[in-house]
């Protein structure tokens, strides 16, 4: 009987991580940033119908980078998790923290037990209202979860964009127009190409709205905001 080659657990995990990182690095970046009325999400996305940013619940949004089929599956599971919880208990009991934990558990288990890890990086953000703070969770392919403040970046060149945003003074949340221009400028600088409103996917979680606070901004909405 031929013996399988011995591969050390360290080596196996490292190979899987490298594989996943390679997949994610191919994808474009997504930025979530706090603005004065909530959280703004900006993604570079040439498709007008295949979304990377999505509504999960009243004040929770999702963004996924990497392999579309995989984060789409996670997105749908997140909506089920939230709707089930909201139906079973009440709408205010649905939290980003619980959802982020679910994602973390799921991704972590798949990373350690499956042959192929998921090539995704996801963001779960919740806009706070009635004096509560915003929450932003970045979850990696291996299930590691990072609680971000002020802004969060996922996707191919996330580290470069993070460094860029760290240099900005964001102690006071900017207006929507400023926040959007900052995100677009960062994406343009890192990608070294001009981005038109048609190639951007933009959405907000606006705490001034009642009920469902998620809203997509179409190119018609963003064009005037991006005009100098």
């Amino acid at each position: 009987m031929p013996m399988p080659y011995y591969v050390s657990p360290e080596q196996m995990m490292q190979d899987k991580a490298e594989y996943a990182k390679k997949g994610i690095a191919k994808g474009r970046s997504i930025i979530a940033i706090e603005y004065v009325n909530g959280i703004l999400l900006v993604a570079e996305n040439p498709s007008a119908s295949l979304y990377k940013i999505s509504e999960i619940y009243d004040s929770i949004a999702f963004a996924g980078a990497g392999k579309y089929s995989e984060f789409e599956n996670l997105r749908k599971a997140g909506i089920r998790h939230a709707d089930l919880k909201g139906f079973m208990y009440s709408r205010e009991d649905v939290t980003a923290r619980s959802l982020a934990n679910g994602y973390s558990q799921s991704l972590g288990t798949i990373f350690s037990q499956e042959q192929k890890p998921l090539e995704v990086e996801i963001l779960v953000v919740q806009v706070g209202h009635n004096g509560h703070a915003n929450e932003m969770y970045r979850i990696s392919f291996d299930g590691s979860i990072i609680d971000e403040r002020t802004f969060a970046v996922i996707g191919g060149k996330s580290e470069a964009i993070q460094t860029l945003l760290k240099e900005k003074d964001l102690t006071q949340p900017p207006e929507l127009r400023e926040a959007l221009s900052l995100c677009v400028a960062s994406l343009e600088q890192i990608g070294s190409q001009k981005l038109s409103p048609e190639t951007l996917e933009v959405a907000v979680l606006d705490r001034t709205r009642e009920g469902r606070r998620f809203r997509r901004l179409s190119p018609a909405d963003t064009t005037p905001l991006l005009a100098p």
Partner: protein, 275 residues
């Protein structure tokens, strides 16, 4: 692929998801328990349970959309169970539903239907068509059939604004999930027949919004006059029927003040006839 620690399901229906994975949370979830009991004691089946019953609700089309309204009374036998119950529910931005029958399961179905439509919209990225929503509700009523045998009848009246056809639509249902579209107006519940009689006398195609609103409130008033289960305007406590308007601009609540002023007018007219 299956995701551990997260709910997996393979279609965009929340109702199907609950039925498959959390049957105890569906309105019919109790039926397993109930039917085994009913099988053991067949005589204690239909109508033996005393639960609050919601009564008259109605809807009428006007030029730009639909008005839907309901009284505020729930009865339990010959007792009044609730004076301020709300029977007209906003389902999404372009539709509303009103309910008659066992109050608890009715409200539960309305809540489940709201989640169903929102869930579909979020998963698929588009809203269901007006027809699609009406059909989905029919399936939910059908699934409730075992409960109806136990006496827990849920009877919805559904109205929506069809954005493609640019018109308001009214759908009524039967216990078996049959779905029928009404062309002008409809009323269900214990005072439904009385309300329909009033609407038949006064209905005109292409009415203006204030006229349609006045007519539904008049129909409710007449139903309350003839049917013990239907609550009229309660002037002492200040409880008035509720109404919603669905049109191309979405769904709006008719303010209580507006309803009160229409009733004040109606009562003055009535009084002058009696004097």
């Amino acid at each position: 692929m299956k995701l551990p620690f997260l709910p997996n399901h393979d279609n965009p229906s929340f109702f199907d998801f609950l039925t498959a994975h959390h049957p105890a949370l569906t309105p019919t979830g109790r039926s397993g328990f109930l039917s085994s009991q009913a099988a053991a004691e067949p005589m204690r089946g239909a109508g033996s349970m005393s639960v609050p019953q919601a009564t008259t609700v109605l809807a009428i089309k006007y030029q730009q959309g639909v008005v839907i309204a309901g009284d505020r009374r729930a009865t339990e036998g010959f007792q009044i169970a609730e004076r301020r119950i709300e029977k007209v529910f906003k389902i999404d931005d372009y539709s509303a539903m009103a309910i008659a029958g066992a109050a608890g399961p009715c409200i539960e179905m309305a809540k489940l239907f709201q989640v169903e439509l929102e869930h579909y919209e979020k998963i698929e990225g588009v809203q269901l068509s007006c027809e699609g929503k009406a059909n989905k509700l029919g399936q939910m009523v059908k699934a409730n059939l075992p409960m109806a045998y136990q006496g827990l009848v849920v009877m919805p009246l559904y109205v929506g604004y069809d954005l493609k056809r640019a018109e308001g639509r009214i759908f009524k249902y039967d216990l078996a999930g049959g779905r029928y579209e009404e062309s002008d107006y409809h009323a269900i519940g214990s005072g439904g027949k009385d309300a329909r009689n009033t609407m038949r006398e006064h209905f005109l195609k292409g009415m203006a919004e204030p006229d349609a609103l006045r007519l539904v409130l008049l129909a409710l008033y007449n139903a309350a006059d003839d049917d013990v289960g239907t609550g009229g305007p309660d002037l002492v406590r200040g409880i008035y029927p509720t109404a919603k308007i669905v049109n191309a601009g979405g769904i709006t609540d008719v303010s209580e003040q507006q309803i009160r002023s229409i009733y004040d007018g109606l009562i003055v007219t009535r009084r002058s006839k009696e004097a």
